[in-house]
């Protein structure tokens, strides 16, 4: 009975109308802050474009993590799979054009994903050990292959030759209209126009194609028979097996897709973001993808939310550090609102925590002019720790993700 009630509550919270309201509230809040601080870059078309470029790789890694964990395998090797994606993407992109490169990146990631599946599902070794070793192997392999292939072809041991662009498109008519509207600095309207302008101006085709992975993932996982079985494997593999689901095969497929998605994210970084492979250019985005999965509570839309948040902070840090400082006001307001809602429920601990965070951040905001770059770098990681620490009761990971499973053995 209680689970039924919980489900209904969850549905109301995540219902479309409620979500629209939340989004609207955040837009109004941000536009007020922009008006108040004069930091116009937050909602400018340029910032939105940059956010998309930073979000897509995190989103791809996050969706990869989602596939893996929903099937019951924790994929810590996302980072290594992304690295392979950057390398294969750049090399085959250089040889045969960017779209072949993107495909090759997916294949490179999928190979690592299948290795992870073989080791954890078939052999049965610890998923964390395998994932971390794959990260090491991915980095080492990319380094080794760079030394073998890039030298003499216009690259070096840590840099690949340039890959041609995938091309971009701008929606005619709409884009200039929204851009002019954005420059008028009208409260709320200009902000919405600015963000929308960013969404229709100079959008890379690769961004659009990769973004499609989100609705496709949501559709497969929640609307198809395979998706149901896959989530079943993550929740209770023993029961799934007894009802005729081939758990091993399902997890192998899920891991191949997971690796391919991470590889796509890597290929996006090397082909679209920089135009060539640079050693270490993934910079821990695989782990941030993992963080986005947790932040998004193991749902596709949640993963998107986490990716956009982490991508936005990344983009603002690169563009203008005062923007991140202004975003502190959002944190202050949210923490304050959180504290006040707790007051209504007479939850004193929650109230004090919320208000304390709001006051502390406010004090920091008043004293300092900027947020140090180092803090922005680990913002996703810190957010994840805080979400895990304070909202862990609300989180609902797949019940058996990470647990070892052998066919024919109970538990």
């Amino acid at each position: 009975m209680s689970t039924l009630k919980g489900n209904r509550l969850w549905k109301i919270i995540t219902s479309p109308s409620r979500m629209m309201l939340t989004v609207a509230a955040i837009i109004i809040l941000i536009s007020l802050i922009r008006q108040f601080t004069g930091v116009d870059d937050i909602t400018s078309p340029g910032a939105t474009g940059a956010t998309i470029r930073f979000t897509i790789p995190i989103l791809m890694a996050g969706l990869g993590g989602l596939w893996a964990e929903r099937s019951g395998v924790i994929n810590i090797g996302l980072e290594g799979m992304m690295i392979l994606g950057t390398w294969f993407g750049a090399w085959f992109g250089f040889l045969y054009g960017p779209w072949v490169g993107i495909f090759a990146g997916a294949v490179g990631g999928a190979i690592a994903g299948l290795l992870h599946a073989f080791l954890t599902v078939r052999v049965g070794i610890d998923q964390a050990v395998s994932g971390l070793a794959i990260n090491l192997l991915g980095a080492g392999t990319a380094r080794f292959l760079s030394g073998v292939f890039f030298i003499g072809k216009g690259g070096d041991v840590n840099i690949s030759p340039q890959v041609s662009s995938t091309g971009s498109f701008t929606v005619p008519g709409l884009s200039p209209l929204l851009t002019t509207l954005a420059h008028k600095h009208i409260l709320v309207i200009s902000d919405i126009a600015g963000v929308s302008a960013g969404l229709v101006t100079k959008i890379n085709w690769a961004s659009l194609v990769m973004f499609l992975a989100l609705p496709i993932t949501a559709w497969i996982l929640w609307k198809t028979r395979f998706g149901l079985r896959m989530r079943f494997c993550g929740e209770n593999p023993v029961a799934a097996e007894s009802l005729g689901v081939n758990v091993y095969r399902t997890r192998f497929i899920a891991m191949a897709v997971s690796g391919a998605l991470a590889g796509l994210g890597g290929a996006y970084i090397s082909i679209v973001s920089t135009g060539n492979y640079l050693e270490g250019q993934t910079a821990g985005r695989g782990y941030i993808g993992l963080a986005a999965v947790i932040f998004g509570n193991w749902t596709p839309v949640g993963v998107l939310g986490g990716s956009v948040l982490f991508g936005l902070t990344d983009a603002l840090r690169v563009r203008q550090s005062t923007s991140v400082h202004a975003l502190l006001l959002v944190v202050i307001v949210l923490a304050g609102v959180y504290g006040l809602t707790k007051l209504r429920k007479k939850d004193w601990k929650g109230f004090i925590t919320g208000i304390l965070i709001a006051v502390l951040v406010l004090a920091y905001y008043m004293i300092n002019k900027t947020v140090p770059d180092e803090f922005v770098t680990f913002f996703p990681n810190l957010t994840t720790i805080l979400v895990l620490a304070f909202l862990s009761q609300r989180l609902r990971p797949p019940a058996m993700a990470g647990a070892p499973y052998r066919k024919g053995e109970e538990g």
Partner: protein, 366 residues
Amino acid sequence: MKKLNKLFWALAAPVAAILFTLIFVSIILLFKGANPLSTFQLIATYGSQSDNIVAELNQTVAYYLAGVAAAIGFKMLLFNIGIDGQYRLAIFMAAVVGGATHLPSYLEVPLIILTGMVVGALWASISGYLKVKRNISEVISNIMLNTIASGLIIYLLQPSRLGLKGKSSDNLSTPLIPSSGSLPTFHIFGGELYSFGLVAIAVGILYWIVLNKSVFGFNLRATGMSFRAARASGVNAPRMVFITMALSGGIAGLTGMGELLCNTHTYSLAFPTGYALTGLALALLGRSNPIGIAIAAFFWSFLEQAAPALDLEGVPKEIVMMMQGTIILATVTAYEVVKRITRRQQQRLVGAADAPRVEVGQKGDK
């Protein structure tokens, strides 16, 4: 005979793993057109040069401590991937405290070491707390904490805060620890052997005694084997998990201390990362046994010290990184396979003892 059989299976896994790795590397070497045998010979001679031996021993000490830190976690089925963040934050804070105090040597050195251990333990206890109170995987929280630790160190290392600008380059470092805060080195083989190695030996002995000969160690191992059974027999299992994590972090705080006290006397970003994976790999290779870890640690640092020799053969020395990843995977896989084989052997023995002595039973044995 039974004992021999047991020993064979205990050694089979690491030997198989190393063999597999050697074959793997040989294939890569052949692919690059180098002769594997002569390359291995080169590695062996380069690695056993006297001055390299000293460097290897010093590196072994650091790896050994990381391995022990990981092994403590393993006893509790904890996967302390946070050793990296714990050790770097610990050494950084120890260097800061050491650089800011001027005490006589018998106080200064213990103060620095203790600071490192406490900071490492505190940083590790964050993930321990999250594990016990919020049921959060220590792997995830530690991965996040590693990045946070790196960011914090870079932030605090700025000249306007706790750091100094280096003289020659723009490499940032902490203020120099006074000479009263350093440990002596031994002149052997034309190198400088850190006396801090003695501390590592003490840690190894202590690790073995506490784990195998004390009530605390018994409770720890019992909780690691079965959380529920330990709890049922009166062990405060969540507390044991928390303490183990903190203990692992405390030992992790000693990693790199030899370098700090005997060589650099200052913390800079030159202190390497990646000790967590190395430590975990060594604990796996050495089966969490203090002597096993020591042998594995020496083997590991021998390989790394000899890696530059690969460059002479035209092989990128980065394949050492691939080798390490392969060793980890091969070891774990080999242990898993060996575990299954020995279990099947045991089951067969039990089955043979239990089965009624008729034809049908023997047939089923096949």
